[in-house]
């Protein structure tokens, strides 16, 4: 287990390095700079000084070298915009993003997995058809539009929930953004679960279990569910990563103070250190979740542990 963990951790290094290089190169060739986004009528003398102060006049290789050397010590640099350390900025935004992502995933799992199970138990039935219509709709809906619809219904028409903001740190403010973000993974999990369960239900070992007189509840619990979990976990892992990216739209729409909105603001204002830092955190989160999922495979299916 330990060697597996070490091997996986070592595998993340080239991924992280590739992302760092890619982001750096991209923002070196993209036109526009922080100096030009400060204001529509910024003073050119100030702009020149700002570029010098931020090292934007230095050659690309020098900037990259400085960045990597700093990164090796865990220093993400200072934001061009706020002049705060990027680590501080990300730390302030990390908790709201984690709240949002975990709440969305909880919504997706709690609704999507049972829906997929129920649909698979009676394929072609009313429940199955309704569940799949819901799943396809959930996958097709644009988050921006869905978010607005939910705001309109639950805030404006019903008055049950606030339409935007972070309030005192989540609570009722979390519900609408989490549902908006969670609908798509919920739909995907429902479809994945249904497909996995349908396939496993016809597998030889399930037929054998039934022929041995095992009750249907035990068959589903010990054989179907456990085997389906591998595929469900894989989907969840991939969706966690995707949620980090999709949170950008939802956070902006609901004025949610997460890393997604930090990333958008930083890109638009060419705040390169903040962009690099945010993307790095997103990538590390994605890798960490996938590593966790890989470890969980071993718990669910002992054969995988030694692979």
């Amino acid at each position: 287990m330990l060697s597996f963990l070490i091997r996986r951790l070592l595998q993340t290094i080239p991924t992280v390095l590739a992302v760092v290089l890619l982001v750096f190169v991209l923002f070196s060739v993209v036109p526009g700079s922080i100096a030009s986004t400060m204001s529509d009528d910024a003073d050119p003398q100030v702009e020149l000084r700002l570029k010098k102060q931020l090292g934007l006049d230095d050659p690309v290789y020098l900037r990259f070298g400085t960045y990597v050397a700093r990164l090796a010590t865990g220093n993400l640099g200072a934001s061009f915009r706020t002049r705060e350390p990027v680590t501080t900025m990300i730390a302030k935004r990390a908790w709201p993003t984690l709240q949002l992502i975990f709440a969305s995933m909880a919504f997706a799992v709690v609704l999507g997995v049972p829906l997929g199970f129920v649909a698979a138990l009676r394929p072609g039935g009313i429940v199955d058809s309704a569940a799949m219509v819901l799943a396809v709709s959930g996958l097709s809906l644009a988050k921006f539009w869905l978010g607005l619809l939910l705001m309109y219904l639950f805030a404006l028409k019903l008055g049950w929930l606030p339409s935007f903001g972070y309030g005192d740190g989540g609570g009722k403010y979390l519900i609408l953004p989490a549902v908006t973000l969670g609908v798509s993974p919920m739909a995907l999990l429902a479809r994945t679960t249904r497909a996995a369960v349908l396939e496993i239900m016809t597998a030889d070992f399930v037929r054998t279990a039934r022929s041995k007189g095992m009750s249907e509840v035990r068959v589903v619990k010990w054989h179907v569910m456990r085997n389906a979990l591998v595929l469900i976990l894989t989907t969840m892992g991939l969706q966690f990563g995707a949620l980090m990216g999709q949170a950008v739209v939802v956070e902006k729409l609901f004025s949610w103070p997460g890393i997604g909105s930090l990333l958008v603001d930083s890109v638009l204002q060419r705040d390169i250190p903040a962009v690099q830092g945010s993307i790095l955190v997103v990538v590390l989160f994605f890798l960490a979740i996938n590593l966790l999922i890989d470890l969980l495979y071993g718990v669910i299916d002992p054969r995988i542990r030694y692979a």
């Binding site: 036109p31 910024a42 805030a155 935007f164 972070y166 603001d265």
Partner: protein, 529 residues
């Protein structure tokens, strides 16, 4: 006077303000403003940021030497009680208030003003307010690292400073924005200041949730008796217009800036029509033409473009009436706006005639650089292209991101571009952009060169008589109309929806969202009691 006129145009806005004035302001409650310009607040150090978004909260937290008075349409003294002018109009002696307290309880003195201006001129930090403070003699030397302190600033006593300027200008236009806010010299030098800023404004800092909101509460020792009225101010970051619309209708916010589509929707909704407040802001939208591109070197071609475009049609149909037709450069709310001047008429025949006279009877082709902006970007360009086509001019669109457009404009790397430029509140500064001594990278984006224009601007700069200065500047504005370095499109009509319980909203032509928050109050019908 100009403001009253604009307010008449605004109509509803004036009615709202007048109603507010007729009532007795109520103490207490929470004002819930929105910061609508896209992204999060840049920084809690307002010296470092020039974005309109940041000044929304800064108006509550900080104070500068002057403040914008929307009713009078000009900057007035704020942290000083008196300004005595001497030295041929170059020396200003300010008698500072002796009752202004920072939010840490310490009284403001002349040292704080001098410290703040010296800080802004720190060349190594590149503070954007340097462009204003540079008008003080010796400030540029500090910026270049040639001096440690601004020589033109002298402390006479704790509450008196002498400021020597390099030009005969009204310092009010230079020292009213939050970029030149006065900081507490001792506290602002500490590292933690950026996390918990201290100012002289009517509200003190409570909390910043990055990307979401800033919360401020009443500063009891604010120097204006009885003000501010509300207990708390919350400024929510809400870049999405549709989300703001829901929140406004749901009574979760007190103000919301409206775009063209929402402007029409609100005007046609009986329940919302009364909430709309509008003002002509000091921004001119235009298509700039590069004189280095051969056809545009000829004045007749530039005039032909002005004649070829049905500007009123675009404003009415595409911009949904959310703009005022531009005549020349100075906008409607400029004190020197020439109301006698008539805009270029829509006259394609005249445009063709001018093109033929200029040697382009069959027209020509040019590249038009634009952003996606809905009010002065791609949709406008798309509507104009067929109009130009009718007189033989073909335009090819080059679409770029907003951040890139500003670089294109400053570098001169274009044949034509469409833009929105601040043209006030100081008419002298706005017109000086066209002076040949002003670099293209500063604000002379069309690289305009005209000896007659330079002479008028130079004479205006030397004039002691304000009326004479005004006449010279109006002549310069008229010359720009004749020379037509741009297609004069429109002056921005800023529109904001204001809940009926929020009173005291000012029609600020420099930026409608920038409110002197101490004058705002909410009545008992506000949901945020």
């Amino acid at each position: 006077m100009m403001f009253k006129r604009v307010a008449l145009v605004a109509g509803l806005g004036l009615a709202l303000v007048a109603t507010a004035e007729a009532q007795t302001p109520r103490k207490g409650g929470t004002i819930r403003m929105t910061a609508p310009y896209g992204s999060s607040f840049t920084s809690l150090d307002i010296h470092t940021t020039q974005r309109a978004q940041d000044e929304i909260y800064a108006k509550a937290l900080h104070r500068s030497l002057y403040i914008w008075n929307s009713a009078e349409g000009k900057p007035v003294l704020e942290l000083a009680r008196e300004d005595v002018v001497s030295g041929g109009g170059l020396v200003h002696t300010f008698k500072l208030r002796d009752d202004a307290y920072f939010h840490n309880g310490r009284k403001m003195t002349a040292d704080d003003v001098i410290w703040s201006y010296n800080r802004i001129m720190d060349g190594a930090k590149a503070y954007p307010g340097a462009r204003y403070v540079r008008v003080i003699e010796g400030a540029a030397a500090v910026e270049k690292g040639q001096a440690k302190e601004i020589s033109g600033l002298k402390k006479i006593d704790d509450f008196t400073i002498e400021m020597k300027l390099t030009e005969k200008v009204d310092p009010g236009f230079y020292f009213f924005t939050a970029l030149t806010s006065i900081y507490p010299a001792d506290e602002a030098a500490k590292d933690g200041f950026i996390q918990k800023p201290i100012g002289l404004g009517p509200y003190k800092f409570v909390e910043h949730v990055p990307g979401s909101r800033i919360v401020l509460e009443r500063w009891e020792k604010f120097y204006k008796p009885g003000k501010p009225y509300a207990d708390k101010v919350v400024v929510a970051v809400m870049g999405e217009a549709a989300a703001r619309d829901v929140a406004f209708r749901n009574k979760e916010i007190d103000t919301s800036v409206l775009g063209p589509a929402q402007y029409v929707a609100y005007q046609s909704d009986a329940a919302l029509k009364g909430t709309v407040v509008e003002v002509a802001e000091v921004f001119t939208r235009y298509m700039g033409m590069n004189p280095a591109f051969k056809p545009f070197t000829d004045k007749r071609v530039r005039q032909a473009i002005n004649y070829a475009i049905d500007t009123d049609l675009i404003i009415n149909k595409l911009v949904k009436g959310k703009a005022y037709r531009a005549t020349s450069w100075l906008p409607l709310t400029s004190p020197l706006y020439d109301k006698e001047m008539k805009p270029y008429a829509y006259d394609p025949a005249k445009a063709k005639q001018l093109l033929a006279e200029a040697g382009y009877p069959n027209g020509f082709e040019f590249e038009w650089t634009t952003s996606q902006n809905e009010s002065w970007g791609l949709p406008i360009v798309t509507a104009v292209i067929p109009m130009l086509d009718k007189v033989g001019i073909k335009a090819k669109v080059k679409q770029v991101e907003a951040a890139v457009l500003s670089e294109v404009v400053r570098s001169g790397d274009y044949q034509a571009f469409i833009y929105s430029q601040q043209t006030g509140p100081d008419p002298q500064a706005a017109l000086k952009c066209f002076h040949s001594a002003t670099p293209q990278s500063a604000c002379n984006y069309m690289n305009f060169r005209n000896a007659e224009f330079d002479k008028l601007i130079d004479e205006a700069g030397q004039a002691d008589d304000i009326a004479k200065r005004g006449q010279l500047l109006q002549k310069a504005n008229a010359l720009l109309y004749e020379e037509a370095p741009v297609w004069f499109f429109n002056y921005n009509k800023a529109v904001m929806a204001v809940q009926p319980w929020l009173h005291g909203v000012q029609l600020n032509a420099t930026e409608l969202t920038h409110q002197n928050v101490e004058d705002l109050w909410v009545d008992e019908t506000s949901p945020a009691k």
